[in-house]
């Protein structure tokens, strides 16, 4: 072990210090399972430390600069004094959801800290769930996230402040999507660790929209671990919307376990952020499960995004699809690592994987690694990656019809991304997302400096967004 490895980064020292200083609070009315997770998380963190780019899975993302920063870990629990829509307004318009939020890492909502909605879905703070539903916590908490290999996940287990708990009972179909908004509104440099648990019982279904937003320009480091259990015949649509400032770092780890004939549809929509890493660890443990993990990323300036998929076919007759598309401008960089593992007895697996990129400048870069590891002999798997520029023939064709160069570019980029955004199942959300894509490509989607309502940029009409087939 080298000397530099022995010396703690400031962030490592702060995390350990925070745990020691706040042990009493962290363990207060704590479920034994959570207590163990915290203790073991710290132990593991001290052993594996923060992930560096010399490890294979992190070679495209270097967070050393952030590790050197003096982040303030966690924050005081905010007093609920403002309705969420007074501090934040969502960029996704006209989409009817039940909204829950986390402000600076703490559950921030009016009413009960955990509640049962009209349709039977239980939603609330994960801290409150420990007390009210100890048997659920006992059965699920840290059951899959504990397998994570890197220190940020381990530290998250040790020091997480709060998070969202969602439980959809057997045979319940949630009739309204749940929107979970995570906001940072703090003056200093802050690190936030949060922890979510989503459980879908047999034959249930849920649409879940997870938004990461900043409402100011301060530097932040967000680490989120989300565990997802999907029971037999259950179905989850999970949307992740990321619209963070350029000083933010987000490491989002999602752990999924799927039972027989269950489905997950994930759309990761990365619009903005300094450094974003999305990790998906998906385990298809029983026959007939289907996972679709797709996403788009639109980065510019010095922004960086890293999508890591680790998808395991552990049972026969499961299907999976990975499709990530990105447009990179200026000096932006991206990493895609799609890994599909097919176990020896996972026969009749069908797995597809694709990553396509448009680089608008010679300074933009993509590091793409499609990867299959197959031990079964009767499977259908494919992978592919493309990196290119806008098609010159198509550009000329559009311009020959009178469309100016800038609009022609927008049209082509939008069309390129539509392969992912066009598959969003909820119509109103699809329209909003496609609108956000156009605004982002046009440079109109902003994270305002001082403004609280970051969607206050007036809508400028753009003609091609009118879909006349709907009239």
């Amino acid at each position: 072990m080298s000397l530099s490895k022995n010396k703690y980064f400031p962030l490592e020292s702060s995390l350990i210090q925070y745990y020691e200083d706040n042990q009493k609070d962290l363990h207060r009315s704590c479920h034994p399972k959570v207590k163990t997770a915290r203790e073991e998380g710290l132990k593991k963190f001290e052993e594996v430390r923060l992930p560096l780019s010399n490890s294979e899975r992190w070679r495209g993302t270097n967070l050393r600069k952030q590790y050197e920063q003096n982040f303030h870990i966690g924050d005081e629990k905010p007093v609920f004094d403002k309705q969420i829509n007074e501090i934040f307004q969502c960029t996704v318009h006209g989409f009817d959801t039940t909204t829950f939020s986390l402000l600076n890492g703490w559950y921030y909502n009016s009413g009960e800290r955990i509640q049962t909605l009209d349709d039977g879905v239980i939603v609330g703070s994960i801290l409150a769930a420990q007390e009210k539903y100890p048997e659920i916590i006992e059965k699920y908490f840290n059951e899959i996230a504990a397998d994570s290999e890197h220190g940020l996940c381990a530290a998250n287990a040790a020091v997480f402040t709060d998070g969202l708990f969602v439980y959809v009972p057997d045979n319940v179909s949630s009739n309204k999507a749940i929107q979970f908004i995570k906001m940072i509104n703090q003056d200093g440099e802050i690190m936030i660790n949060s922890r979510n648990l989503i459980i879908l019982g047999k034959n249930s279904s849920l649409s879940f929209l997870h938004c990461d937003d900043s409402i100011n320009q301060h530097s932040s480091f967000l680490v989120t671990n989300t565990e997802v259990f999907i029971g037999e015949n259950a179905s989850l649509d999970l949307y992740k919307l990321q619209n963070l400032n350029n000083e933010s770092t987000l490491v989002n780890s999602t752990f999924v376990k799927q039972q027989r004939n269950s489905t997950i549809n994930v759309k990761v929509l990365t619009f903005n952020g300094g450094n974003i890493r999305n990790e998906f660890n998906v385990n298809l443990i029983e026959e007939g499960a289907h996972a679709d993990i797709s996403g788009i990323y639109l980065m510019d300036k010095n922004q960086h995004v890293d999508n890591q998929i680790n998808l395991k076919h552990l049972a026969p007759n499961c299907t999976s699809n990975e499709m990530f598309k990105g447009v990179l401008d200026e000096s932006a960089s991206a990493v895609f690592n799609g890994y599909i593992y097919v176990a020896r007895d996972a026969q009749k697996t069908i797995a597809f994987q694709k990553n396509a990129n448009i680089l608008l400048t010679s300074d933009a870069s993509i590091d793409t690694m499609p990867f299959l590891e197959i031990y079964a002999d009767d499977v259908k798997c494919s992978h592919g990656a493309t990196v290119g520029q806008l098609d010159n023939d198509a550009m000329f064709y559009l311009m020959q019809r009178g469309i100016p160069e800038s609009d022609a570019k927008l049209l082509l980029m939008n069309a390129f991304l539509a392969e992912v955004t066009g598959k969003i199942a909820i119509e109103t959300l699809k329209v909003s997302i496609e609108d956000m894509v156009k605004k982002r490509l046009r440079g109109d989607l902003s994270i305002c400096d001082k403004c609280v309502l970051h969607c206050s940029v007036p809508d400028t009409p753009i003609e091609f967004e009118i879909d006349l087939s709907k009239i």
């Binding site: 198509a394 000329f396 020959q400 009178g402 049209l411 091609f464 879909d467 087939s469």
Partner: protein, 252 residues
């Protein structure tokens, strides 16, 4: 005069393709340009529409009284120059409807008009679709994606009908068409002919000219027009073949 091309020289990557090309087109006229492969017919189409990579080394393209050689392709298009592509480009993810609405509004903006109202646009779409016998479903599909050869060419003429150009260049619109599709395309073109616009039809074969009857026929060889005449020239060419032209040029 609508178009006056004077002594045009065009090269691609330093190789001279058009060598002293001259052509005059007035409103209300249909011109046919014929000639063997590789004589520069498509280069003429690319040069006049402003395609990148086609360097005009000397000469002028005077359109509506102005030299347009420095204008970008979209400006030329909005000035009324339309090219029906020999190989229409597939654009996945862009529906014909949205494409046409964007193009039409770009033209209207260029002319200082407000965007076309939805109802008016839809009526126009329906009317022009009938003109070239396009199925309704087709316009909801992505531009040219998975279209048959005939559908692609019909779609070109449909777009021409929507945009109502002053000067339309049809680059081998007949290639890959069966006789029925050829008739549909030709009928579409004939319906759009007027005293205000002009057509330049590039073709290998006389066959198309049975349906789109030209006022003038020009024969190209080695980068320029070497022989011009009336529609009977096309018949003569069909009968005697391009060797007759080569001989005519090489041994005048």
């Amino acid at each position: 005069m609508l178009l006056n091309i004077k002594n045009l020289n065009v090269s691609i990557k330093g190789k001279e393709i058009l060598k002293g090309f001259n052509l005059e087109v007035n409103e209300g006229e249909v011109h046919a340009i014929m000639g063997p492969n590789g004589t520069g017919k498509s280069t003429f189409a690319a040069a006049i529409t402003g395609r990148e990579g086609y360097d005009i080394t000397s000469g002028e393209i005077i359109y509506k009284g102005k030299d347009i050689t420095e204008l970008s392709p979209d400006i030329r298009a909005n000035e009324g120059i339309f090219l029906s592509f020999q190989y229409p480009v597939e654009i996945p993810g862009v529906s014909i409807t949205n494409f046409m609405r964007t193009a039409l509004n770009a033209k209207r903006e260029f002319e200082g008009q407000p965007p076309v109202p939805a109802g008016e646009f839809l009526r126009k779409m329906e009317e022009k679709k009938k003109l070239v016998d396009i199925q309704s479903k087709l316009t909801n599909r992505s531009v040219n994606e998975g279209f048959s050869g005939g559908e692609k060419k019909k779609n070109e003429i449909f777009q021409m009908a929507m945009l109502e150009p002053k000067l339309a260049i049809l680059d081998e619109t007949d290639s890959g068409l069966d006789i029925d599709a050829l008739k549909v395309v030709a009928n579409g073109v004939n319906a759009l002919r007027s005293d205000d616009n002009a057509f330049v039809v590039i073709t290998h074969y006389q066959r198309l000219l049975d349906y789109i009857v030209p006022d003038f026929v020009h024969v190209m060889y080695d980068g320029r027009i070497v022989k011009s005449g009336g529609k009977e020239l096309a018949f003569e060419l069909e009968e005697k073949g391009y060797d007759w032209i080569k001989e005519h040029v090489d041994n005048p």
